[in-house]
Amino acid sequence: MRRQVTIWNWRGWGPVRALAIAALTLIPLLVVLASFLEPQPEAWSHLAVYVLPGVLWNTGILIVGVGLGVLLVGVPLAWLTAVCDFPGRQFFSWSLMLPLAMPAYVLAFVQVGLLDFTGPVQSTLREWFGSSQWFPPIRSTGGVVLVLTLAFYPYVYLLARNAFITQGLRAVEAAQALGYTRAQAFWKVALPMARPWIAGGMTLALMETLADFGSVSIFSFDTFTTAIYKAWFSLFNLPVASQLASLLVLFVLVLAAVDQRLRQNRRYAAKNFSPVRIRLQGGARWGASVYCGVVLAMAFVVPFIQLVVWAHTVWQEDFDGRYPVFLLHSMWLAGLAATTVTVLGLLLSAIRQHHRDALTQWFVRLATLGYAIPGTVLAVGVFIPVAWLDNQLITVAGWLGWDTSQILKGSMLVMLLALSARFLAVAYQPIDAAMQRITRNQGNAARSLGLSPRQVLFRLQLPMVRGGLLTAALIVFVDVMKEMPITLMTRPFGWDTLAVRVFEMTSEGMWDRAALPSLAIVLAGLLPVILLVRKSESGLH
């Protein structure tokens, strides 16, 4: 009886615990929401007639297109490299993660540069045939969808692969034993069982698509986020921009709720490894290699070569002694952020597992919304409360005889908290997908053996979600290295990173000169990718 009471008490703390983490996102979100205190009817009536219809249509198309795109590219690649055997499988299984290290805006710029009218492809075609009129325009809806798909499919690939490696083949074997063909087994058993992972990867890809500004502006493709920045930078109306951003967040929240409802009564508990792979035969063998090769070439190899060429031309002019420092800053920041955010993501997921009440679930959802807010808007949402708090502290410091103009601002702590607000979703999705693998029976058994929640976390959950943790840390690491607005806004004076360098160059349209820091970001991103692959292959076989 006494134990039951303690358990209940502990359970009652769920919302509070979730809120403690969600506050990181909620505070900037409230700053954004506060914009509704200043109604802007004039600006709204202009936007509603001339801007919003077009951008809503475009955004809808982009979500559907990129959503389907990342599924069609990410899931087959994950299945092929996780459970099948074909020439080059081992190479592709890790190299297909590489595009993650390529910032989407860089990929967009390179692909547009190559495939647009003035690019080498069409120029050559004109030399050969006199005209390139028939060539499909890259700066079009199809072009944006293609490039964003190539940029964001790794989220689905990484998470789905995690699922297939740990359960895929066993599921197929079991289904085949029950009389299904292999194809039926894939569609009816393996795929549905991987759903939380696939949905998690897709959520990340779509949130990033919604918040993207850099890539779509290279295509001059206007989305909802374009309208947000138009209101702020062109109409000088930050309140309207914030109000629009709030609507974007609301939309993502609804999507998350719908997704959760759809998944509500399913359990995804299974964890079986199988060392045997499906050996593809005949045409399928080489078909698989070609498919993997084409995706890898378009998403990584070709843009990588272009970056190397550009970097080569500006190398002597731009490379200086500061670059090792930029690199070090980037990796240090990304490493600290990856650790912090992964721990927060794990805690959040553990809290959600223990507390099934509605309030906790809502706080968890709110905590992961930062990824869908356009970066610069979130950066301001973070900075305003920090500056306010700082001003109070500075006043107090002044009484104590310490004359200063910043205490919290420009500190690593604030940088890390701000980055956590942005990237919590990125860590949470893979961890929570893995967490759903742990059966309730396992948890109950552990608890009935007298383990405390903390012991359950360390002895049961932590070992079982190791793959998810590694995936989370990798994605956050790479994402932080690419991140610009929050780094720009919260960094200390003179503490520049590679992404800051990219910003400096691209802000004046000098894309070839941005190649050097971009290339450094890609190369630095390779290290954790390779590390992750090593770990996942050795640990799970």
Binding site: V325, S405, S411, M489, P492, E508
Partner: protein, 337 residues
């Protein structure tokens, strides 16, 4: 190695110990928030430090976040000077009460009246002219005249424009509103849109390449982008035409600076801006960056001097800021993306 360690630990130390550059360095340091990117502004600051011994701290970001940052920091801001690459954002900063009026005979003498704020809150330091370019193989420059004429039916399918989301186009249209009025300007913009050869471009560089490749015959760009490309490839078949020379002159914007309202070192900030408005600094603006010096006593560099002198629109650049939102709404209505 210890330098590396120090560099990585710096932010922690700032937080834990409060060893602050701004705090400790005091009056010898000037802190600048700059929307002009680091590699364009740093050579100037290095020269200033060498000459005067004053250290300069830079923080770069986009204009929007910098203004919000200044606003949030309020009276406790470490920033002394705000630098932007357009008049619109300086005007906006002034509207938000983020700048202070300075009485400087030096600046008033060096910078022409149309390139500075009438209230003395900000000053133009370099001039960015936005004019017409054409493909030399396809266009006889005798057929070119004004921005407005590019809306005519003879340019159907031959015009390239950059996106209306870039402030340079917003200020061009804003000054057109100031001279022609909303109605006539909207007609012109509609004409431009009808004449577009292809989707609008995200930046001037891509637009210049499209004109060079013959995707379109004419376009409107800032001259320094063309100078940069000509420096790399002198045979680029792109010519420059000074627009509207018979009447109001070429549209110009500025990159400029102002002293912040709560500057801890306002005197140092003003000295820096005064230094930027003359002599060596003005030469760097034009020699290295191919912009036009705001100070008329300084003569432009050789690559851009081949385009000769031009008549510039003498309307005060602050009007571009005032009318920027109206210009944006007008372009939305006209379907100019």
């Amino acid at each position: 190695m210890s330098a590396i360690r120090r560099s990585l630990l710096a932010p922690w130390r700032l937080f834990l110990l409060g060893v602050l550059l701004a705090g400790s360095a005091g009056a010898q340091t000037v802190t600048v928030y700059s929307a002009r990117n680091e590699q364009l502004i740093k050579p100037l600051f290095d020269a200033y430090t060498q000459e005067t011994g004053t250290q300069i701290q830079i923080l770069t970001d986009k204009e929007g976040p910098l203004l919000e940052r200044l606003k949030a920091e309020g009276a406790k801001t470490p920033a002394d000077v705000l630098i932007t690459v357009d008049a619109g954002n300086l005007w906006q900063a002034s509207q938000m009460g983020l700048l202070r009026s300075i009485k400087s005979p030096v600046l008033n003498a060096n910078i022409p009246a149309n390139l500075r704020d009438p209230k003395g809150e900000w000053y133009g330091l370099s001039v960015r002219a936005r004019t017409i370019i054409y493909n030399k193989k396809a266009v006889n420059p005798a057929n070119l005249s004004t921005y407005e004429a590019l809306a005519g039916p003879e340019w159907k399918g031959k015009l390239c424009l950059r996106t209306s989301k870039k402030v340079y186009n917003q200020s061009l249209v804003a000054t057109m509103i100031a001279t022609l009025g909303e109605k006539q300007t909207e007609q012109v913009v509609r004409g431009w849109v009808a004449n577009l050869a292809t989707e609008v471009f995200p930046d001037d560089n891509a637009l210049i390449k499209a004109v060079a490749a013959g995707q379109c015959e004419v376009g409107i760009v800032n001259t320094y982008y063309l100078a940069r490309q000509l420096e790399k490839d002198p045979n680029l078949p792109v010519g420059l035409f000074w627009a509207n020379q018979k009447a109001r002159g070429v549209h110009v914007n500025i990159s400029g600076a102002g002293v912040t309202r709560h500057a801890p070192n306002a005197v140092g900030g003003q000295k820096l801006i005064e230094w930027l408005s003359a002599g060596k600094a003005q030469e760097i603006y034009t020699d290295k960056d191919f912009e036009y010096p705001a100070n008329p006593q300084i003569k432009p560099d050789s690559i851009i001097s081949q385009w000769g002198a031009f008549r510039m629109d003498l309307i005060n650049v602050s009007r571009a800021g005032e009318l920027q939102a109206a210009a944006t709404r007008l372009m939305d209505r006209a379907g100019y993306r």
